[in-house]
Structure formats: C-alpha cells, structure tokens
C-alpha cells in the first residue's frame, strides 16, 4: 500500500524547499517549524505582536494547506497510526522537548541546515535519523531483530 513514490516525493520536496527559500528571501527567517512554534511559547517574545504574528501566520498556512486541498475534493488528513494513544503522547512529548533542546527538527536542521551546509544541523540530522531508525528497528523487529 505504501509504495515508493520518488516523483511526488521530489515534487513535494521542491515545494518545501521553495517555501524555505521564500521565507528567507521575503522575511529573513529560517523555515524551522520547531523554532517557529517554540518562539510562540517563550515568555520573552509574548509581548511582541510583530514577532508573534508572522509565526502564527506560518502555522495557519500549514493548517490551511489541507483545508484548501479539501475544497478541491482532497480528503482531510486523518492518518492511520498503529501506536496506542499513550505511546503517541510519549512520542509527542519527546518530539517537543527534544526538538526545542536540539534547536531544530526535520525542517530547520534537515532541510534548511543541510541547505546552509551547517555542521551543527548535519550532525543533528544524522543523530535524529539514526536514533529514529534504531527506534523503529526495536519497535518493529525487536532488539537484535
């Protein structure tokens, strides 16, 4: 069911890269979802309307994308998830805490960081990719497979 889809992968990836390029060219910001969301949750920036508004706008754009696609007949994304709600909640906390501690996620380190050839981001991406692969190996195939 989940086949290898290199063409839509490349096309969708190019759009992600375009969004990252445009955000830098237009607003001077890095399109890192962790940093964008995290900046809203920091008490130091809560008083600054201009700083909050662009972050909210980017997030609104992310959520609006599938809503606009739905106007053209696409189904709303309700992905099937095998993990239990407890595991999903633990995963969510780990993703939130980990990305903020490591200053970035797949977009900030993975896409923007690699595009800038940032050593920090390349190291971070290598580590979270390797850890995620190891986690899936353990969950799906048991320790030692």
């Amino acid at each position: 069911m989940h086949d290898f889809t290199p063409i839509s992968g490349l096309a969708g990836g190019a759009l992600i890269g375009l969004a990252a390029a445009l955000l830098m060219l237009l607003t001077g910001r890095i399109a890192g979802v962790t940093g964008i969301v995290g900046g809203l949750l920091q008490p130091d920036t809560t008083g600054r309307t201009a700083d909050r508004s662009w972050r909210i706008a980017f997030i609104a754009g992310l959520i609006a994308a599938p809503l606009i696609a739905a106007l053209f007949g696409a189904p709303l994304p309700r992905p099937a998830m095998n993990a239990s709600l407890v595991v999903i909640a633990i995963a969510g906390v780990l993703v939130g805490f980990g990305t903020r501690t490591g200053n970035g996620c797949t977009s900030g380190h993975g896409v923007c960081g690699f595009a800038r050839l940032s050593g920090r981001s390349i190291v971070a991406t290598f580590i979270f990719m390797t850890t995620a692969v190891a986690t899936v190996a353990i969950v799906r195939h048991g320790i030692g497979g």
Partner: protein, 169 residues
C-alpha cells in the same frame, strides 16, 4: 497618515502565511504527512520506502538555491536583515535533543511540520500528539529557564546572555 506601519507588519505576515501554505502543500504532495510512509523510510530492516530521501533531496536543492540568492542580497524584501543562524558549535543539548527527538519520531512517525498539517483533520491521535508536543516544548522552556537561573547565580554569569542564541530551525 501613511499606511507604512501597517504594511511593515502586514507584508511579513502575508508572506509567512503563503510560505506556510506552500510548505504544507509540499508535505501533503510528498506523502510525508502520512506517518506510515515516514516509518516506511525509517524501517531499514522491513519493506524499505526510500521516498523521504527524495523529499529531502528536492527540498535541500531548492532551498540551497534560494539561500544562495539571499546571500547575495543586502536584506530580505520585507524585513531589515537576514536572520541566519549564527552558531557552529556542537554541544550537549544539540546531541541530546536530537536523540530524544529521534526516539519520538521513530515511535510515532510524525515530526512537528506534518503534525501541524495533519491537525486540519482533527483526528484523535494527531490532536493527542500535538498537545503532547506543545507540553514538551513548554516543558523545555521551563527546564531551560531554570538552567539559566542556576547559571546566572554562578559568579561568571556576566559573560552568558540570558537569552538563548539564535535558533537553527
């Protein structure tokens, strides 16, 4: 009474919305909003799906081209200056944070961008994931703040800024 102050606020906001929209469309088209597809990539020992590598390749190539154009410009269109991340050091938070993120990503197959795009469908697992992710992010703020407070109490506090350095992403 000119509209300059309003434009100064409105244009970056509009640009950010459009960028979020394009970013979200890219995630949807690439299939990366589907955790099964992401887990298919991360599952090296199962029926491996290499799609995520193509998504990354396409995204990095286009972003790098755009950044190269930006590097030659004095300033972005709607802001005073480019806010390029300014850190090069590989420290313990970077490594530890990436490990924790990797575990969470491997457990659920969702990272922050796809989580927010998926929020539009309001399915229970996604709502739980996003709520937990926000708790984790706020928890990290509290943790970080206490860490800074402890460091500020130390004698050599003057050289360290109470604000975290510019985020990578």
């Amino acid at each position: 009474m000119t509209s300059q102050p309003h434009r100064a606020l409105a244009m970056p906001v509009l640009a950010s919305f459009v960028c979020g929209l394009i970013f979200g469309a890219g995630l949807l088209i690439s299939g990366m909003t589907d955790p099964q597809k992401v887990l298919g990539f991360l599952d090296l020992f199962g029926a491996w799906d290499a799609t995520l590598a193509f998504v990354m390749a396409g995204a990095v190539a286009v972003a790098a081209s755009g950044f190269a154009i930006a590097r030659r410009r004095a300033a972005p269109a709607f802001a005073a200056r480019f806010l390029w991340p300014d850190r090069n050091d590989i420290d313990a938070p970077l490594v530890g944070g990436a490990i924790l993120f990797g575990i969470g990503w491997g457990l659920a197959g969702i990272c922050p961008g796809p989580a927010l795009v998926n929020l539009a469908g309001l399915s229970l697992p996604i709502v739980v994931f996003v709520a937990a992710m926000l708790v984790g992010m706020i928890g990290q703020n509290v943790f970080d703040k206490n860490l800074w407070r402890r460091r500020a109490a130390a004698p050599r506090a003057i050289e360290t800024s109470p604000l975290p350095s510019r985020a990578d992403g």
